[in-house]
Symmetry: C2
Subunit: 750 residues, 2 copies
């Protein structure tokens, strides 16, 4: 059992029958030729032994000791501190600086002017129980980055989560938001979707508040008594149109170096078109209470002790926002440990360092795990080991405003990364609980093997077994994959893997622990060391566990004889995505027929209360039958190719490969994820080149798989859907051909 | 089209394509031989013409003008007023008096004594906007009738709705209510279940409050601004153990006449065993806020602006209740119109007259429809018409405390009713909206035909078409019966049909309109005329529509040549119930296997947060395969018998019947519902003799169909389930034989 004795938590826990829990015995390591596998297992034990929870705590205490958003004085100190550690641990370390557009508030005013008057405080008060909450001079005020300047006044409309379906509900009530200011609650989508959809419907301003049902007292004790968001708490955050492209709004596709060519701000397409401001529910309540109009539908009602209405009016609000639109320096820390045998193959590990305020959890809880890994690997190097491939630790600045540090760096180094990057492993916030795994499905089996080798610090079973227990208890009917792996999630957006995976086509993983350290400090001044050590991961046991998990991924990727990619999980997963899309289309067709018939028969009107305003939906064009055959044929080919590679990958074939052939095979394996991209990108958003994974255009962080096809269907653009089906089929066929090349290399070596 | 011109509401409503809505053309009336059917349709038009919304309004204004609970001075006035009207309209009218146990509060005290102090007000304040709310001298205070006296003190535990599943959740958190006082919110079951289940788990007291999420500001504007329950509003109500038997607790099975033999109160099994009190959320909030312990699960959280905890403690409460345990007089008004040809066949129509306070909606909105029907029928009689069968209008006292007026009357007259009663038609509260139809499925097709003949006053389509529109809009996949009828609900309990249907086996229907006049006046002092004419049915159009609906049922049942029972709908419905029970058993088996495996593997513990208390469930005995074959064979027989009767019932066969044969056939038809009862009753509750419909022992009002079998399975009593399957099969076989007798009579006549 691989476990650091320093990180066990003494939990008096009787696990009834835990010995009966199937924990896979470690087999030979994927990609390692014997006897190197055994030696590698020893290496991982030594890596674990070099992890020290006390160091994680010390680093967090320092790194979260002052606000450190991009451009802040302490942000530079953080970068310098991190760089100094890497240097100390033996890495070639540079700080790469970019100049990025980063607006900060100059003026924020929100007033209710009718039927009563109220001025929003827009302030998160300092607390005696939270030492760093008093650092008001250095804190960014609560705001949404990349809101445009504006001074608007209008009737207020409550739009629930502010997603497209909510506006359809409003239409049924005859409510139009044109010329109005909308107030949406956080949740239901990524926040940047809310002002975008509001503006598309004609709204002139947008407020976003944290409803206590979703994020506050309804969930548990509020801070400082408990971990949840208090009445005055505000969630800051970016509203950049990231589904179009992330990164510096002025330098799409190129690194935002000092001399880069820049768009005029007025031409920057990812800024909002209406002013938007996040507020607390203490500030939202008087506004919501002043609304008239219909009572909001049951699912729209939050946790405030009021009757929720939609408006419009009689509440009238004024919203005035002005920002300093300066460029800020963003400091990415890049630390390299050159590979001994295949230095041109790069395994990259990243976590951001900038925070909205002090950011103990987001991002420091993930960053301290990264530092622990880097330090432990540094110790291994000191004893004479060196990775076969090059390891790069990247600590990003300016993630919070929109993945700027990582995006600009990948754009600047795109050619080298496309040629050399093996994989990118990302972390961000971490806490107590269960392993979250998302990423490229070519790495699904790989990361599942690691999850079976890492021990959960609270229960002494593997983190995989614990995850399995939770899933089996939660699921009505178990839906495990037949091979016993946990299905990993597909990546949408929300952290720094996006430019690697979705722009450059580099296989990526995003990892973290969560589920037992809930709370509401996200993007507030209370995301502090004091909060984290009470409610996050008090002993830093899960910080160490994350380092064990991510460290294994790095060490195995860096040292394997051949890279541990695998294609059957990918094939099964993509088949499931296609099935989903076919089912979606069929359901849309049935639903459209049904709705049109109900409209034609006048039944919507008959079902409505005649004493209230009701506008029935309008007839929609029928959903045609689409030709999915190209995609289904491509899947058949893919399945055969994936199985053939798996069959070819027997120990003898691998052992028989020359080192040159191993390298050649690696290059093919690296290229597989790259083949899933297309240079022209997705329809309407060329920056996103990956054809399997993308953030949803109307969900934001939420992933859309096979996005070209799926979104065309969702948007009812049937000609585009047909084109995209052909393109997706083409992409998967190219992918299968690449897998076949790998198989040929293996079988040819026999 | 049958419609009273006086009751149309001028609604400027464009029903798009409403003409396309399929509204069945009226065919020949079920049970009527031509040309009597045509004449009857004319009679129904004359009936409609005699309905007058203004009279309904006037009656409600008077009948709700003062509090009129059982035993109150105005309660007697109400009975006298109603009796006088019946007499005036030509009915033989008597007031039958019973002496029933009816406790009223002498002392109510609820105090929070730790960690802070708070004394509950227990008062609904009068409102200037509600004229009768000021009649405090005559109002019953807020209480739960048939709570025992008690003075208890203990730690408080929040138990959500207080149903058995909630106590299982508490067990998972290691929380035991023994020696504690529980606080449950209204909802999730009938209120009387809450103290019963609490006491079974060892609690010593029970509070029930109205949470604003279920019944208050979360739903809409509160009274007097809107119709919903305000912060101080309290729901009174009975907590008699009605699933054991309803009616006077001291005289089970016999009428509570002055000289009836009575149980000692200490032996009365339907009183609660612990004190119980209903409170407002204004009174509940300080108690709930004072609770510690685990945060309540997400589905337990209501609409108060607090973090809901389960306790136990630190809140400690004292609850002291004392009642006057007097007998009260209950006055049932019984008005008879003797039948001209078949006076010994009784068609009974009922609605209660007692209220918790003023009761404009509950029960007067239904009672004024009943009065309108009686008056209109009186007018028909004045013009020379007389029903073929005897019509009885019954206006019950003491429904609110537990169906006392109707239960004692049916117990007293049981022999006559068993021999002669054709059907019982009940109404209670009424409002604006859609027709609710529940009852015996032998009358499903009959009442559906009426729903197609009655016009909705707001939309000018039939109430059936409007119901169909709502159902089709609401349902994802339409699930109409193949014959186009709306499936009618099975009856549990909650109004005066229970003794007729479930004790005596008399075919019953419960009818009313609702769905567009929501609100929270139920069982409060604000259930007033002022409230009803603002938020209920302001023009009394739906009062008239209810009279049209129920009046048609009476006229057709009273005048048909042969009674309009039908058995195919019943057969299909019972087949569905058996399918449900088989599926339930299979799902319980799968679930038990799964849960036991998860327990054995220790997965529940692994899935739980080790820093919180978690107690895994215990292993349960596996669910055996039960022999459902007797029931399934009985269903096959039933289906054939039902179809044969339908086939035999052609117009020629009916026309060929002699009047003597018609009467003989009627008697068989009347007996069919009777055959569904068994003298020994249901297991553990012999008063409930019906084998197909009963209120659930652990749901209260909620129905359990084929209750002997279903509840034995739910309680995991497999030997009992097997016995009950055989009994249910036997019952259905006897029923089929009775239907066959009817068929023989018809086919023999040809």
């Amino acid at each position: 059992m691989i476990r650091s004795p320093r990180v066990g938590i003494a939990v008096a826990l009787v696990v009834l029958g835990a010995s009966a829990t199937p924990t896979a015995q470690p087999g030979p390591l994927r990609g390692f030729v014997q006897p190197r596998a055994a030696a590698h297992t020893t290496l991982e034990s030594r890596f674990d032994a070099a992890l020290d929870a006390d160091l994680l705590r010390d680093w967090m205490r320092y790194l979260a000791s002052r606000p450190h958003h991009v451009g802040s004085p302490f942000g530079k100190d953080v970068a310098d501190f991190v760089a100094a550690r890497f240097t100390e641990w033996g890495y070639d370390t540079v700080i790469e600086k970019f100049e990025v557009l980063f607006p900060t508030p100059r003026l924020r005013r929100l007033e209710l002017v009718a039927p009563t008057r109220f001025t929003a405080s827009l302030v998160e008060p300092p607390l005696a129980e939270d030492a760093t909450s008093t650092q008001q001079d250095e804190q960014l005020p609560s705001y949404n980055a990349y809101s445009i300047d504006g001074n608007v006044s209008g009737e207020l409309v409550y739009v629930n989560y502010g997603v497209p379906a909510d506006y359809e509900d409003l239409e049924r009530h005859g409510i139009d938001v044109r010329g109005k200011i909308v107030i949406a609650r956080y949740g239901g989508s990524w926040r940047g979707i809310k002002p975008k959809v509001a503006a598309e419907h004609g709204a002139i301003g947008c407020l976003i508040y944290s409803d206590p049902r979703d994020d506050g007292y309804s969930q548990g004790e509020v801070y400082p008594a408990g971990p949840y968001r208090a009445d005055d708490g505000v969630q800051r955050g970016s509203v950049l149109d990231m589904p179009l492209f992330p990164g510096d709004p002025l330098t799409p596709n190129v690194g935002a170096t000092a001399d880069a060519e820049r768009l005029d701000r007025s031409d920057a397409p990812t800024l909002t078109t209406i002013p938007v401001l996040p507020i607390s529910h203490a500030d939202a309540r008087p506004l919501l209470e002043a609304l008239g109009g219909p009572v909001a539908p049951p699912t729209w009602r939050g946790g405030l002790p009021i009757t929720y209405h939609t408006g419009p009016g009689p509440a009238v609000v004024e919203l005035e926002l002005a920002f300093d639109w300066d460029l800020a320096p963003a400091y990415d820390v890049i630390a390299t440990l050159e590979g001994s045998e295949r230095p041109d193959q790069l395994v990259i590990r990243g976590n951001h360092h900038d925070a909205w305020v002090n950011g103990a959890r987001d991002p420091i809880s993930g960053l301290v795990a990264l530092l622990a890994e880097a330090r432990a690997i540094g110790e291994l190097v000191r004893t004479g080991w060196r990775p076969k491939r090059t390891l790069i630790f990247a600590v990003w600045d300016a993630e919070e405003p929109g993945l700027l540090g990582s995006t600009e760096w990948t754009e600047l180094h795109a050619d080298r990364l496309r040629a050399q990057a093996v994989a990118y492993i990302n972390t961000d916030s971490n806490g107590r609980g269960f392993l979250r795994m998302s990423g490229s499905h070519t790495l699904e089996r790989f990361i599942n093997e690691i999850a079976r080798d890492v021990i959960d610090p609270q229960t002494d079973v593997s983190v995989s077994a614990r995850l399995e227990a939770r899933r089996r208890v939660a699921e009505v009917a178990p839906r495990f994959q037949t091979n016993g792996d946990h299905p990993i999630g597909a990546l949408g957006s929300g952290s720094d893997y996006t430019p690697f995976l979705q722009h450059l086509g580099i296989a990526s993983l995003n990892l973290g622990y969560s589920g037992e350290s809930g709370g509401g400090s996200y993007h507030s001044i209370y995301d502090s060391f004091d909060h984290y050590v009470r409610f996050g991961d008090p002993t830093f046991a899960y910080g160490v566990t994350l380092a064990q998990t991510t460290g294994r991924a790095l060490l195995r990727l860096a040292d394997a004889d051949i890279l541990p990619f695998e294609f059957e999980s990918f094939s099964e997963t993509v088949t499931r995505y296609v099935d989903e899309i076919v089912t979606l289309t069929d359901e849309m067709r049935t639903q459209t027929e049904r709705t049109n018939r109900l409209i034609g028969d006048g039944r919507y009107v008959l079902a409505a209360d005649p004493t209230t305003t009701y506008v029935p939906p309008t007839v929609e064009d029928p959903v045609p039958h689409l030709n999915f055959a190209p995609l289904q044929n491509a899947l058949t080919r893919l399945e055969a190719s994936a199985r053939a590679y798996g069959d070819a990958l027997d120990p003898e074939a691998v052992a028989a490969l020359s080192v040159a052939d191993q390298r050649a095979l690696d290059q093919i394996l690296i290229s597989t994820e790259r083949v899933l991209t297309r240079d022209e990108g997705l329809p309407g958003r060329p920056w996103f080149t990956h054809q399997i994974y993308a953030p949803g255009f109307y969900t934001g962080y939420g992933v859309k798989t096979i996005p070209g096809v799926r979104e065309a269907i969702e948007q009812r653009d049937w000609p585009l859907a047909t084109t995209q089906i052909a393109l997706a089929a083409d992409t998967l066929t190219l992918f299968a051909a690449e897998v076949d090349r790998a198989t040929s290399l293996l079988t040819g070596s026999r």
